[in-house]
Amino acid sequence: MRQIDMDQTGESGSAGGAAASAGAKKIGEVILDVKNISLRFGGVKALTDISFDVREHEVRAIIGPNGAGKSSMLNCINGVYQPQEGSISFRGQTFRHMNSRQVAEMGIARTFQNLALFKGMSVIDNLMSGRNLRVKSGLLAQAFRHPFAGLKWLGSAQQEEEQHRAFVENIIDFLEIQAYRKTPVGTLPYGLQKRVDLGRALAMQPQVLLLDEPMAGMNLEEKQDMSRFILDVNDEFGTTIVLIEHDMGVVMDISDRVVVLDYGKKIGDGTPEEVRGNEEVIRAYLGTSH
């Protein structure tokens, strides 16, 4: 994999912070702070008064039995749902409501539990659509892109397309999906589609990556591969990872700190060892009469 400068499109703000220092992973300041979030759908209380923070370059897991509100929490962070109370602050800026477009621009990307890939496009187009956020060439430049590639103004679209293509190829090499570059996404097996979904999120050069059950429905070998990819992303690009998962084994291995949700309430927060010992968590998972 070629170590290309992640900032090549001159984006302001440190995108991806690729130069995390060598040696033990340095976990930085609080980058994302969720304060007393409550979310209701009509009468149904999905989340009640949830607060936790996420530090930079950390692998933060959110676990809990099915229906505990994990996905709803993720959807609040990235603006798909608007919580009734509470606020979310990112790098110091506090927001009551997030809109998903603004969230994407700030550098928070996400994958989807049930694969929201664009079936009508090939793998490489799906990844390139992740780059659309950073495309600067206008409509006209894109229309006249073909033969005028050389010119400064009209040709800028083609040059920019090539830069984005080079960046995306870096991700293809990283995720080892070179052989499927031009195949339609819909025809790939489930495990590979999950990788393309991860690739599309990476194409947005995120500072924080929200992973919604990346290993749901995978066999053991695919789970190992995906965990390796997640750790590599965190290690190579320094991206902060927020991981939603209900497979305890995976979470305990690869996460630095864990939040435990149950019936929309936070019942545990801390390192995997602390959480494993916590009665409430055990009761929530092993299930006793409520």
Binding site: V103, G120, N132, L133, A143, H146, Q158, E161, A201
Partner: protein
């Protein structure tokens, strides 16, 4: 079968991203262009040019416009007729009211006005989807029908509402013989098809397709749904507007609002359903199909009728034509929702992996 791809490797992204990366495809297209530009004008009869080729080219151009909106961006629009009408009338007005106005600029102005009209009636697409949007665009269609009939300014106060255009000049070269009309339209179609192809394979094209495939996911990865939808409406109506101008100026010569009624919108929609949603070449297939089918039916039905002993009048043929269209739409939607365009792509893929099945 004809493909020999060994040795065609790419050493730069520019080479890899060109419109026709495989040599055999490039030769095929160049040969086609040569035939269309040189051989056809020389050999084709006036009837063939005037009655088939010119309408085919202009409808193909309009179909490309509709395909950009419906096929690539997934926004169902039944107002294409209105956009064509706007293109035609505004081109006419700019030609008539401003003397010395070059023909091409007039047509482009018509296109721009259609763009404004299109974006205006594209606004509902921000709030509603699918069926509701279809009805909203019908509003555009009926509003335009009424406007061009009632508001006298558009038709330069002509009593009957019909207007006409004569001796089109293009830098001193008058366009009136079928061959000149054909070449004039061909120029437009080739340029616009290539512009559209560039757009749909660039970033904006991916945004449109993302909105079409799953707009919720598109918003989350940073695509602005409003920007994508409105650009789709804008580009689509610009192309349709110019096509409308060409249809009125070159094909009809004299026309009234009914020429761009709701049947035109349905006809354009049929073209891209049969031709192929989401493919530029599909627009050409659709246009060819819609232009050639009636002619084919006119020839074959009376003969068939005679065989069976039933004499089929011209109105009978018209009805049969409607029935055949209806049946074909349903058949295509069942067998191959992506129409002839997809069949063409599948055929090409089969040729590339020949003799293997996959």
């Amino acid at each position: 079968m004809f493909y020999r791809e060994n040795g065609q490797f790419k050493t730069s992204y520019r080479a890899d991203q060109q419109i026709f990366p495989i040599d055999q495809d490039r030769w095929l297209v160049l040969a086609l262009l040569a035939v269309v530009c040189l051989v056809v004008p020389a050999l084709a009869s006036d009837y063939l040019l005037r009655a088939i080729l010119v309408p085919f080219l202009i409808l193909a151009l309009a179909a490309i416009g509709v395909n950009v909106l419906v096929g690539y961006c997934g926004q169902i629009s039944m107002g294409s007729g209105a956009f064509m009408a706007m293109g035609a009338y505004m081109a006419y007005n700019s030609l008539v009211r401003v003397d010395g106005m070059p023909l091409i600029v007039a047509l482009l102005i018509g296109g721009l006005c259609a763009t404004v009209f299109g974006v205006l009636f594209g606004l509902p697409s921000l709030r509603v989807k699918g069926l509701y949007l279809a009805v909203a665009t019908l509003a555009a269609q009926f509003f335009a029908d009424w406007m061009f009939l009632r508001v006298k300014w558009f038709t330069n106060d002509s009593p009957s509402g019909s207007v006409s255009v004569s001796n089109l000049q293009l830098m001193g070269w008058s366009i009136d013989t079928p061959v000149e009309k054909y070449l004039f339209c061909l120029g437009f179609v080739v340029v616009f098809a290539w512009l559209a192809k560039n757009l749909v394979r660039s970033a904006i094209g991916r945004e449109w397709m993302a909105i079409r495939d799953m707009d919720v996911a598109a918003a989350v990865i940073g695509i602005r749904p409003m920007y994508a939808k409105l650009t789709a409406f804008a580009v689509s109506s610009f192309i349709i507007g110019v096509a409308g101008g060409l249809w009125a100026f070159v094909h009809l010569g004299a026309w009234e609002p009914a020429a761009f009624g709701v049947e035109r919108s349905f006809q354009l929609l049929f073209m891209i359903i049969i031709g192929g949603l989401g493919s530029i070449v599909g627009a050409f297939f659709g246009a060819a199909f819609i232009v050639l089918l009636p002619i084919f039916l006119n020839q074959s039905l009376p003969v068939l009728g005679a065989l069976v002993g039933v004499s089929i009048s011209t109105t009978g043929v018209a009805h049969a034509e409607a029935m055949v269209f209806g049946a074909l739409i349903v058949w295509f939607l069942i067998v191959e929702p992506h129409g002839l365009g997809r069949l063409w792509a599948l055929g090409k893929q089969k040729m590339r992996t020949w003799p293997f099945p996959h």
